[in-house]
Symmetry: C2
Subunit: 139 residues, 2 copies
DNA sequence: CTTGACCCTGCACCTACGTACAGGGTGTAG
DNA sequence: CTACACCCTGTACGTAGGTGCAGGGTCAAG
């Protein structure tokens, strides 16, 4: 069980010191115990949690969601099923995002080709389309 | 040339009234002229701009970027080439986002299958992996 | 004339995720 | 003992993109 100071934890967790405080305040990290001088003393469990948070963030979980995952971990009787359900929902979200990005990309690519096809340095098809492409009827 | 009130413009542009004010203040919409009572009077050009903004936002442009596009439109001598360049950069951004989402998705999907493979209602592979998957060395 | 829908302004507030101070105390090396 | 690095707190600020409200004026119908 290592004992870590604020600075060490932050460095090894690859985050800003203020971020550690912020996570503590948000309840993502437990309140650290204190040295006689009032300095926070972290265990390596805190480091593990911090890395959990970072990793989950990379995987696209928000801090709120991460808080829920951490909470599930505590009373982990049938936590796994619920965690899996959340993860599946997350995958569905990601799919939606990917899909909408692909549509954006297709639309923009089409505009770029229209640009290349345009007659002279005349009107810009991209701006035109952003302008005009509002559908037949928006009352 | 229709003359629109705030409320009409907002409704037809599908945004909140406050949002119209916000866009005006941010310089995305020109300062509207005023009636004798001080009410904003919008032309349908404002409506077109508003729709431009919405459309560009759907395509993933930020409000700052949209401001730049609108500015380019004004002095549009060789605007088209610059707009196209920006659009191409935007497509590259989108590609990056898609890629990273795909990686997230793959990682999460892998975790879900690990979940299905687990022995009993024992430890949750998802939580474990978020926990432990920190690489061999983070000093 | 009254009522209700609409408009005005400025300012505060919101989510999400932190970052940056200011103004202090502590711990340690030389 | 003096530096200097490190720690503490609370609070303000930052971005992005708005939303909401108070306290007022205006306009059209009945």
């Amino acid at each position: 069980m290592e004992r870590l100071t604020m600075g060490e934890l932050a460095k090894r967790g690859q985050v800003n010191r203020e971020t550690v405080r912020y996570y503590e305040q948000r309840g993502l990290l437990p309140r650290a115990s204190r040295s006689m001088a009032g300095y926070r003393v972290f265990s390596d469990d805190a480091l593990r949690r911090l890395r959990f948070i970072r990793h989950a963030k990379v995987l696209g979980f928000s801090l709120n969601e991460i808080g829920e995952l951490l909470a599930l971990r505590v009373n982990s009787v049938d936590a796994c099923d619920r965690v899996r359900a959340r993860t599946q929902a997350k995958v569905a979200d990601i799919d939606k995002k990917i899909h909408s990005l692909q549509q954006m990309k297709a639309a923009l690519s089409e505009l770029i080709s229209a640009c290349a096809r345009r007659g002279k340095t005349s009107d810009c098809p991209i701006l035109d389309s952003l302008d005009a492409n509002v559908g037949p009827n928006n009352t």
